[in-house]
């Protein structure tokens, strides 16, 4: 009996810990062991979340980048600019009876005498013409304007210089070329000092502009810019029926952003007065385009676009979540005997619930992190190579990680409850 007693203590009785159930660290280990034990299944389950999160991050980032790029391009064109155009503002009211009455140099004078806190007014007169150099010819837009044009439109010269007030007064036969037009007519060669023909008139190239990109009124890069006097009197028929010199539109730059609304109102009042229109604007035959409000609506459009892209990406994240649920449900069935075993050896129902919940959350979190990394690759490459500024924002990372965690929680809970509610005896007998 004595020898029997010594031998039976090779495995001494366990000193029971006071806690009931498992601590979270242990549960995490159990879950991780299960996930690591079946790496292929784990990876395939995560794949949906990886793709979902990667598309959320890359689409949000690229969308933001695109909207920033568009916005900053338009701000560079001068958000403080107001442009006066002929024609009814399209905001309802009785249509028809008022035809388009051209704008003339009279309207420019009307604005000038107001002594508003502005740069300009700059009259613009545009027309189509045949533009030809020794090697090439094309039909293009000719813009007649004044020397102040370069201040109002923040013009940057690639070479040569812009024309002067003197050129405008004397209707000099000079031209400044937009960058695309220059390339079309002269290729990589020097243009300044050469001559081109506008319709049949020889004009001398005195400057070439830096490329600038589009604006709502067409690209500056394709234009030939000449003194307005040359365009109105010698290149084109620039007189209205009443003998006034016509202009296509008038641009002003408001010096302080806060004054934009005030300046816009004063311009309208003065023009209505001089054009003999109703003071309340009911029969306006001109309109004032406000770049700032244009920019605001543009921003609304681009952020709508970003939201739309994020929503599409969100759907793929949702699909990823359903994927997790599917595979977890299959996995609960597949692992019924394992669950029965764990219950038999002492796991409480809540230990099983937590194990499966933690597995779902680890899957979705890990998938989320991998997805963030993958989704950031394209934007980072684009940003680093300076193709496109699309910095990965903290908000897109935080949003997609929390959404994927929520996905794991939401879609993990059903399979986990199924697992926890299994009867141990039946689970053990499961084939």
């Amino acid at each position: 009996m004595a020898s029997n007693n010594t031998k039976r203590h090779i495995l001494a009785p366990v000193v029971e810990s006071t806690q009931s159930g498992l601590e979270y660290g242990e549960l995490l280990r159990v879950s991780m062991d299960s996930l690591m034990a079946n790496r292929l299944r784990t990876f395939l389950t995560m794949l949906g979340v990886i793709i979902g999160v990667a598309s959320v991050v890359s689409l949000m980032t690229l969308g933001n980048g695109a909207s920033n790029a568009i916005t900053s391009q338009f701000s560079s064109l001068g958000t403080n600019n107001l442009t006066v155009l002929p024609g009814r503002p399209n905001r309802g009211g009785p249509p028809g009876q008022i035809g388009v009455k051209a704008m003339t140099m009279n309207d420019v004078k009307t604005i000038k005498v107001l002594k508003l806190p502005i740069v300009g007014p700059v009259p613009n007169f545009t027309n189509q013409a045949t533009l030809s150099a020794a090697a090439a010819e094309k039909s293009g837009q000719v813009l007649g304007t004044t020397a102040t044009y370069k201040d109002v439109n923040s013009v940057v010269m690639a070479s040569g210089s812009f024309f002067t007030d003197g050129n405008v007064q004397s209707a000099s036969q000079v031209v400044v070329l937009g960058s695309s037009l220059k390339t079309y007519l002269f290729g990589d060669g020097e243009a300044v000092g050469e001559s081109i023909r506008i319709n049949s008139m020889n004009v001398r190239v005195i400057g070439v502009l830096e490329a600038k990109g589009g604006n709502p009124f067409g690209s500056v890069d394709d234009q030939a810019i000449v003194p307005i006097s040359l365009a109105q009197t010698r290149l084109f028929a620039g007189r209205s029926t009443s003998g006034e010199l016509r202009v296509s539109n008038i641009t002003v730059t408001v010096k302080n952003t806060e004054d934009i609304a005030f300046v816009e109102e004063r311009l309208k009042m003065a023009l209505r007065d001089s054009r003999k229109l109703n003071a309340d604007g009911t029969d306006d035959d001109f309109q004032v385009l406000n770049q700032a409000s244009f920019l605001t609506s543009l921003t609304q459009v681009t952020s709508l676009l970003t939201t739309f892209l994020a929503a599409i990406a969100g759907i793929s994240l949702l699909v990823g979540g359903i994927g997790i649920m599917n595979i977890m449900l299959v996995s609960v069935t597949e692992r019924t005997r394992e669950i029965g075993l764990r219950r038999a050896v002492g796991a409480q129902s809540k230990d099983i619930l937590l194990q499966f919940m933690i597995e779902a959350m680890v899957l979705s979190m890990l998938g989320g992190i991998i997805g963030v990394v993958m989704g950031s690759i394209l934007p980072i490459i684009l940003t680093v190579t300076k193709v496109f500024e699309a910095p990965v924002t903290a908000s897109s990372v935080i949003i997609s990680l929390s959404v994927s965690l929520a996905t794991g929680l939401f879609f993990g809970i059903w399979p986990a409850r199924n697992a926890a509610q299994l009867n141990p005896i039946q689970a053990l007998r499961h084939e």
């Binding site: 029997n4 007693n5 031998k7 039976r8 090779i10 495995l11 001494a12 009785p13 366990v14 029971e16 810990s17 806690q19 009931s20 159930g21 498992l22 601590e23 242990e26 280990r29 159990v30 062991d33 034990a37 079946n38 005997r337 394992e338 029965g340 075993l341 764990r342 219950r343 038999a344 050896v345 002492g346 796991a347 409480q348 129902s349 809540k350 230990d351 141990p424 005896i425 053990l428």
Partner: protein
């Protein structure tokens, strides 16, 4: 000294729609600490049902069951889990090892649910594997082991936490006769040398012959309960 297991008037009725299956109809058994008992009987006689009751996997419809001083009949699901974790070790016919985990990890697994720290779990698991002759296979996975070896790992898993009772329902049901004999000898040795209380269920007389006491069940009641004469002859 009170018995390790006391079962008095235990009944179990399964209700299946309109049918009632009386799986146990008043079982009375007492098992002392250190005994090696075989429960025998033909298929459908209620052996597994009784084993599930003893294993605290289910509660009886009526009757009394006390295990190591604990009245089990009135416990709730969480308390039953806790009793299983602390007092019982299970050996199943199908081994029931986690397929992708090592022998050591499999033996450790039940102790995780008792809050035993990792180092102590490892120590106990290696000793237990040593005791069943698997000390040199700690890192092997179940698919790298024969059926007999897998069942040894399962036995190690049952005993590593020093349970009051080890329960084995048809532990040799999936093994050939030579391996069955080895497994039974191992259980016998654990009972004799470690003083483990072991209860097995079997419908084969030559398997039951390794036990010191044979309880025969028929139609949910105990038909015979006697010492294994052959062993008493030897001792």
């Amino acid at each position: 000294m009170t018995a390790m297991i006391t079962i008095e008037g235990m009944t179990k009725v399964y209700t299946m729609g309109e049918f009632e299956v009386h799986a146990l109809r008043g079982v009375n058994v007492q098992i002392e600490s250190g005994e090696f008992v075989a429960i025998m009987g033909p298929s459908g006689s209620g052996k597994s049902t009784l084993m599930n009751m003893i294993g605290c996997l289910d509660t009886p419809t009526a009757g009394r069951y006390s295990l190591d001083g604990i009245e089990v009949a009135s416990l709730d699901d969480n308390e039953l889990s806790s009793v299983r974790a602390r007092k019982l070790g299970f050996v199943f016919q199908q081994y029931m090892l986690l397929p992708r985990q090592s022998a050591l990890a499999n033996v450790e697994m039940p102790m995780v649910y008792r809050g035993i720290p990792p180092a102590e779990r490892k120590r106990r698991a290696s000793i237990a594997l040593d005791l069943v002759g698997m000390g040199n296979r700690l890192d092997h996975r179940p698919n790298e082991l024969s059926g007999g070896q897998q069942q040894r790992v399962a036995i190690a898993r049952a005993l590593a936490g020093s349970p009051s009772v080890i329960l084995a329902d048809e532990p040799t049901g999936a093994l050939d006769s030579t391996t069955s004999e080895e497994i039974m000898l191992t259980l016998q040795q654990l009972n004799r040398e470690q003083g483990l209380t072991i209860i097995i269920v079997t419908h084969e007389a030559d398997i039951a012959a390794y036990a010191d006491r044979i309880v025969t069940i028929r139609d949910g009641v105990v038909l015979h309960d006697r010492k294994n004469e052959a062993h008493h002859g030897i001792e």
